[in-house]
């Protein structure tokens, strides 16, 4: 059903605090994830699966890959006459500051999205922590609580510098927010529901502090605003740098983990392509791997993730690696503990090896 209560606002301009070859010409939001997806697919799909039909997407400065992937939102059924996908200008330098996802200036400069809506709530999300969530249940809980804001969190299963933690007091009220989280903290998912009227008030009241994150700006007013919390029991995967990208991706090789992100009744949608089914030759050997359509496997693939259209020639091997779209691994080449970005050709009999503690990253091949 079309959501009658909420519109969506997604920020895709968090650019990460550590540089990476993977981010040379794309924002974190459009980094490929387990082959066929990109991180931005998750917030968009969560919105879509809740029937939200008006979504503002705040763009980073290097937005080419996002436009290419998202287009006018057709794959998420967001090419609507009523509502639809609105690509919004964001701070072109991104929000590199640790913990900052909802830059007040971006919210203020796009306030027409909120002014034009007639829905009572706005669901706001970043794109670096991915999950598959029944947003409607949370919208209902928010409505029942009467709070101004409901922040969604999980119990942190590990420490993380880039993620904010919620200090929660009586009746689930959020007392304060700290940057960085420890094991067992209430890890904020960069996802919250806010009353639209309240958001418009905040925009008016905090205009002069527009260089702050929304939550920094209102930190002193949590009592008055009534900031509530909601614990999400599912899987939330935070991706902020090469290390988290590699390890969180590899964890998806466990079907039990994978099943928590991909479920048939709440599908993750992505840009559709016409790649044929993956083709395995006789004598190929693939185990414990996630392999996308359009791959042609003659050699050996172990513990790896292959994007669309990767070829692994006979006698070549890929082990514990992430290989992105269109990479060709020629006869006898070996790739191990590596992330190989799009369109690289790994020549015959060469070796690319990282170690489990130091993953080798090969940037995108230039287009010839």
């Amino acid at each position: 059903m079309i959501n009658r209560k909420a519109i969506g606002y997604i920020t895709a301009n968090y650019s990460g605090s550590t540089p990476s070859k993977l981010l040379e010409d794309r924002p974190l939001a459009s980094v490929p994830f387990i082959g066929r997806y990109r991180l931005i697919d998750f917030p968009l799909s969560n919105m879509t699966n809740a029937g939200i039909k008006t979504v503002g997407l705040v763009m980073p400065g290097n937005y080419r890959s996002i436009i290419d992937h998202v287009g006018h939102g057709k794959d998420w059924m967001l090419d609507r006459k009523k509502g639809g996908l609105f690509l919004l200008p964001g701070n072109p330098y991104g929000t590199t500051k640790r913990g900052m996802r909802f830059l007040l200036r971006d919210i203020i400069s796009n306030k027409s999205l909120f002014q034009r809506s007639d829905k009572p709530y706005v669901v706001m999300m970043g794109s670096n922590i991915i999950f598959n969530m029944d947003l409607n249940a949370i919208i209902d809980a928010h409505e029942a609580s009467g709070a101004g804001i409901t922040m969604i969190y999980v119990k942190a299963e590990r420490a993380h510098n880039d993620i904010n933690a919620l200090n929660i007091g009586d009746r689930g009220r959020v007392q304060s927010i700290k940057v960085g989280c420890e094991y067992g903290d209430n890890k904020f998912l960069d996802c919250f529901i806010i009353n639209r009227e309240l958001l418009l008030e905040i925009i008016e009241s905090y205009k002069s502090a527009d260089y702050l994150d929304l939550f920094e700006a209102i930190a002193g007013d949590f009592d008055r605003i009534d900031v509530c919390s909601y614990e999400f029991k599912g899987l939330a995967v935070g991706i902020f740098n090469e290390e988290t990208y590699y390890h969180r991706s590899m964890e998806m090789l466990d079907p039990a983990t994978n099943d928590q992100l991909f479920m048939k009744d709440r599908p993750i949608r992505t840009k559709a392509h016409d790649a044929p089914p993956a083709k395995y030759s006789s004598g190929s050997n693939a185990t414990n791997s996630l392999i996308s359509a359009g791959c042609q496997i003659e050699g050996t693939v172990r513990g790896s993730i292959l994007s669309r259209g990767v070829t692994v020639a006979s006698g070549a091997s890929v082990t514990n690696s992430i290989v992105m779209q269109g990479v060709k691994i020629e006869t006898g080449a070996r790739v191990e503990n590596a992330i190989v970005d799009k369109n690289n050709i790994i020549p015959a009999n060469t070796e690319l090896r990282g170690t489990p503690d130091s993953i080798l990253v090969i940037g995108k091949a230039p287009i010839e």
């Binding site: 089914p277 414990n288 996630l290």
Partner: protein, 381 residues
């Protein structure tokens, strides 16, 4: 509406009764094929790859799944202003209504559709074969010959010729004779059931045929013989690529197997003329720690924990631990439970082969085993 050079009419109403359990609830053109495709994808992709932007799809038998699959035609870039895919089922009129009585009748009942596009030429197609063809080459043949009707033909082995509709042509490729399943063929050019008509001739011919009480309203049986008898300009367009009908269980299985191997007879990986489909967005497939995949096509959403050899695994098919699948086609969502052994079988959509069950035989003299859509095969069945 603006004038079109050539539009296509795709005959997709057939039941496909020879596909047995596979078409019990779904029209033949909508039957899954090749892992992620449905049979009609090949013809629609040919249209799109040939630059044809207007396709009327004539549907009749159990059309819901087919209609849903076609949608707006966007999956084949056929959501066009003033054209694109139009779904044309039988309809009622002030005088009642009737089912499509034959291939020609189906087109006759949609002459309004054809006239609204005012095309110069009309391409008649059926949606039940696997082939890649540039219809522009056939249209060029038709135009060069100043033909009224051009029939696409392919050479078949002489010993098989008596199973086909055979066309006999002279040196100029002008058709002299058409014989349905001749006992003693004098030509080995078989009709592929693909026709290009000059539109004015088609409209006139069909309007006459509609009034003919003795006609069974079939292109092969009535329209072509009559046009020949009337001395019209009928030519053949010879096609030499891969073409296979997937209308029987045996040919469906055999054609599926033709997609496999190092140098397949039909290459899904031809990027110049891609086969497009209305894809479901499912995650990449997973091959488990003990999974073994050898000479297979594997689609998104599959989970392979056991062994698959020389088989086609469609979207969301599952092969559990210690299960073996060989020389088989698993349609979308088919599940082979742990320890089961499936040989030379076609498992319908969302069918289940229970734990430890043995199904089918590698003996090629035996019939291919077929499990219908949603059927569960337990022990002792």
């Amino acid at each position: 509406m603006s004038k079109k050079e050539c539009i296509a009419m795709l005959l997709a109403g057939g039941q496909g009764s020879r596909l047995g359990a596979l078409t019990s609830k779904i029209a033949k053109p909508a039957v899954s094929f090749g892992g992620k495709y449905r049979i009609i994808d090949f013809t629609l992709s040919n249209c799109a790859n040939s630059g044809i932007d207007t396709v009327g799809v004539l549907t009749q038998y159990r059309p819901y799944r087919l209609h849903a699959y076609l949608g707006s035609g966007a999956a084949w870039d056929l959501d066009e202003l003033g054209g694109g895919v139009s779904i044309l089922p039988p309809y009622a009129t002030q005088d009642g209504g009737a089912w499509y009585a034959g291939t020609a009748d189906a087109v006759t009942q949609n002459l309004d559709y054809i006239k609204s596009h005012d095309p110069k030429y009309v391409l008649i197609l059926s949606g039940d074969a696997l082939y890649r063809m540039d219809y522009r080459a056939m249209l060029a043949t038709h135009v060069d010959n100043n033909a009224d009707l051009t029939v696409a033909v392919m050479p078949v082995p002489w010993e098989d010729a008596s199973r086909f509709g055979i066309l006999t042509a002279d040196e100029d490729k002008r058709i002299q004779k058409f014989t349905e399943k001749p006992e003693k063929p004098d030509s080995n050019l078989a009709s592929m059931g693909i026709y290009i008509f000059t539109a004015d001739f088609l409209i006139k011919t069909l309007e006459e045929d509609a009034l003919d009480q003795r006609s069974s309203h079939d292109f092969g049986g009535d329209i072509i013989p009559k046009a020949l008898a009337d001395g019209k300009r009928l030519f053949v367009h010879e096609y030499n690529g891969f073409w296979k009908d997937v209308g029987t269980i045996a040919s469906y299985h055999e054609t599926s197997m033709d997609l496999l191997g190092a140098d397949p007879l039909f290459d899904l990986y031809d990027n110049e003329t891609p086969i497009m489909s209305n894809d479901t967005t499912r995650p990449p497939h997973y091959i488990g720690p003990d999974g073994r995949v050898d000479d297979c096509l594997v689609s998104n959403g599959c989970k392979i924990m056991g062994t698959a050899r020389h088989s086609i695994l469609s979207t969301d098919a599952v092969v559990e631990e210690r299960a073996i699948v060989e020389d088989s086609v698993l349609l979308p969502g088919a599940v082979v439970k742990s320890g089961a052994h499936v040989s030379r079988a076609i498992l319908g959509e969302n069918s289940i082969v229970e734990e430890g069950v043995k199904l089918g035989s590698v003996d090629i003299t035996k019939d291919t085993a077929v499990v219908g859509n949603d059927v569960v095969i337990g022990k002792g069945e």
